[in-house]
C-alpha cells in the first residue's frame, strides 16, 4: 500500500467521483465542489502567467519604459493597452446600466473571428476536401485501389446529396441521399467503436492506479 499522502488524497478523490455511478451522494458532491473551485483557480493562474503577463503587462511595460527613458511614443507596444482596455470593457457587462458597452469588445471578437472563419472554413473544410477527393477513379493494375477510389468518390457525392436542403429526398435523388446517410452512419459507428478504446484506456489507468499504485495489489 502506498505511503504517499498525495496518492491517498488522489485515491479518495477517485473513489469519491466513481461513487456517482451508484448514485448522487455527499462524498461525490464534496469532490465535485473541490474540483469546481480548484480548476477555476488553476486555469485563472495559468492564464495570468501565460497570457496576461507576456501579452499585456510586459508589452505595456516596454511602452511606458520607452516613453519615460527615451521620451518617444512606441505605438506598437501601446497598442496592447488597447487590447487590455477592450478586455476591461468586457467586464462592464457586470454593471447593468452601462452593460451595453461590453458589446464593443464582443463586436471586435465576433467580427474578427467571422472574417477569419469565412476564409478558414472555405479553404480547409471545403476546398482542401475537394482537392483530396479529386482522385483518378481507375488505378492501373490494382483492382482494390480502383474499387476503393470509386466508392470514395461515390460516397462523398451521395453524402453531399444528403445535405441538400432544396429538394425533397424522392426518386433517384432520394436514393442517392439514402446511400449518403448510410455512409454517414458507417462513419459514426466506426467513430463510436474507436472511442470505446479511448475511454476504456482511461478507466484502465484509473483502476490500475487504485489497485496498483494505491493498494499495491499488482506485481
Amino acid at each position: 500500500m502506498s505511503t504517499s499522502i498525495g496518492v491517498w488524497i488522489a485515491a479518495f478523490l477517485t473513489l469519491g467521483i466513481m461513487s456517482f455511478l451508484y448514485k448522487d451522494n455527499p462524498i461525490y458532491k464534496f469532490c465535485e465542489a473541490v474540483f469546481v473551485g480548484v480548476s477555476a483557480g488553476y486555469w485563472f493562474v495559468v492564464e495570468f502567467f501565460n497570457v496576461f503577463l507576456p501579452k499585456v503587462y510586459d508589452n505595456v511595460g516596454i511602452a511606458v519604459n520607452v516613453l519615460l527613458v527615451q521620451g518617444r511614443v512606441d505605438w506598437f507596444h501601446w497598442s496592447y493597452l488597447l487590447g487590455g482596455i477592450l478586455g476591461v470593457l468586457m467586464l462592464l457587462r457586470l454593471v447593468p446600466k452601462i452593460g451595453w458597452i461590453s458589446r464593443w469588445p464582443l463586436a471586435v471578437v465576433v467580427g474578427t473571428t467571422a472574417g477569419l472563419w469565412l476564409i478558414n472554413y472555405l479553404v480547409s473544410n471545403a476546398m482542401r476536401q475537394i482537392q483530396s477527393t479529386i482522385i483518378p477513379l481507375y488505378v492501373a493494375g490494382d483492382l482494390n485501389a480502383t474499387i476503393g477510389s470509386i466508392i470514395l468518390v461515390v460516397g462523398t457525392f451521395c453524402g453531399l446529396i444528403y445535405f441538400f436542403f432544396s429538394k425533397e429526398h424522392k426518386g433517384a435523388f432520394g436514393g442517392a441521399a439514402k446511400i449518403g446517410i448510410w455512409f454517414i452512419m458507417i462513419t459514426f459507428g466506426a467513430s463510436f467503436g474507436y472511442t470505446v478504446m479511448s475511454r476504456m484506456s482511461l478507466l484502465i489507468a484509473r483502476m490500475d492506479f487504485l489497485v496498483g499504485t494505491w493498494l499495491g495489489l499488482i506485481r
Binding site: 455511478l21 451508484y22 495559468v46 501565460n50 483530396s132 466506426a190 467513430s191 474507436y194 472511442t195 470505446v196 478504446m197 479511448s198 476504456m200 484506456s201 482511461l202 478507466l203 484502465i204 489507468a205 483502476m207 490500475d208 489497485v211 496498483g212 495489489l217 499488482i218
Partner: protein, 280 residues
C-alpha cells in the same frame, strides 16, 4: 417471456458493474492477449530501426495528463527504442503539459538497467527544449531556425550552448520526427507544416479517437500511425519489450467483449419481445 422485458429495462448500474469487473480482473492476470501487428505500426518501427546510430530524432509531446493512459506507453517504448539504438533525442512540446510528460517518461526509461548502463548525458544524448506557445506557427518557425524558436531549454539553459543542439539548425538536420498527439495542435499540423513545407520524415502516435483521421496521409506524408493503446501495444510487441500497453490489452479485450455481449443480449431481447408483441 417476462425475462426479456426485464432485460430490456435493465438497471444501468448492472452494466456498470460488469464493466468495472471486466476492466479490473484482467489487471491481476499475467496472461496477455495475442496482438496482431498492423502495417502502420510496423512502418513507424522500421523507420526508427533503420536509422543509423547517432541520427537525430525530434519528439513532439502534444498532449496532457488526460490522454496520458493512451500516449504515455508509446512515449516510453519509443524512448527505449531510440536509446537502445544510440539515437540522439530532441524533445519539444506544443502543449504546455507535454514536456512534463516527456520528463516523466524519461525518468521511467532510465530505470531500465539496460538503458541506465549507457550512462546517457543530458545535452549530449538528449535534450528537452520545453513548451512553446503558438501552435503551428512554432513548427513553421522551427523550419527556419530551431535556436530562435526555442532560445532556452526546459530548465533555462541556452539552447545554443547544448552540445547536441550545436549540429541542429532546422528540420534538415533532423532525421526523423515523432509526434505524440491528442488533438490540436498535433499530427495534422506537423503534416501540413513540417512535412508539406520542409519535407521532414514524420511518424506519429495518436489517441484512438484521432488516429483514423490520419489515415489519408499515409504513406506519403506520414510514415505510419500508432492508434490508441492498441497501437502502443503493437509497438511494444515488435520491439520485443512488452510493457504497460500490452499488459493493459487484456482489460481492453475483455471490456470490449462485455460491451459486444451486451449489444447482442439487447438485440436478442428486443427481437424476442417485438416478435411477441406482433403475435399478440
Amino acid at each position: 417471456m417476462k425475462f426479456f422485458d426485464r432485460l430490456l429495462a435493465i438497471d444501468r448500474r448492472i452494466i456498470f458493474l460488469f464493466v468495472i469487473i471486466a476492466v479490473t480482473l484482467p489487471l491481476f492476470s499475467k496472461a496477455t492477449l495475442h496482438i496482431e501487428v498492423s502495417p502502420m505500426v510496423k512502418a513507424v518501427y522500421d523507420a526508427v530501426d533503420n536509422l543509423p546510430p547517432g541520427s537525430k530524432v525530434l519528439v513532439s509531446f502534444d498532449y496532457d495528463p488526460a490522454s496520458a493512459p493512451e500516449l504515455q506507453p508509446m512515449a516510453l517504448s519509443f524512448f527505449r527504442h531510440c536509446f537502445s539504438k544510440d539515437l540522439k533525442v530532441v524533445i519539444i512540446g506544443l502543449w504546455p503539459q507535454g514536456p512534463v510528460q516527456a520528463n516523466i517518461a524519461l525518468e521511467d526509461v532510465f530505470r531500465d538497467p539496460e538503458i541506465k548502463a549507457k550512462n546517457l548525458k543530458y545535452g549530449v544524448d538528449y535534450v528537452n527544449l520545453g513548451y512553446m506557445a503558438g501552435n503551428e506557427v512554432v513548427i513553421q518557425s522551427m523550419g527556419s531556425n530551431i535556436h530562435t524558436t526555442f532560445p532556452a531549454d526546459y530548465t533555462g539553459n541556452r539552447t545554443s550552448e547544448l552540445p547536441l543542439m550545436k549540429g541542429i539548425k532546422n528540420f534538415d538536420n533532423i532525421d526523423f520526427i515523432y509526434n505524440l498527439s491528442a488533438g490540436y495542435p498535433g499530427t495534422m499540423e506537423w503534416v501540413q507544416f513540417a512535412v508539406d513545407r520542409f519535407q521532414a520524415k514524420l511518424g506519429a502516435g495518436n489517441t484512438a479517437v484521432q488516429a483514423p483521421g490520419m489515415y489519408p496521409y499515409i504513406p506519403e506524408q506520414l510514415v505510419g500511425v500508432l492508434g490508441g493503446m492498441k497501437g502502443g501495444a503493437e509497438y511494444e510487441i515488435i520491439a520485443k519489450r512488452p510493457a504497460r500497453a500490452v499488459s493493459y490489452m487484456l482489460s481492453q479485450g475483455v471490456s470490449h467483449a462485455v460491451i459486444i455481449f451486451f449489444i447482442i443480449i439487447g438485440n436478442l431481447a428486443f427481437f424476442v419481445t417485438r416478435g411477441k408483441k406482433k403475435t399478440s
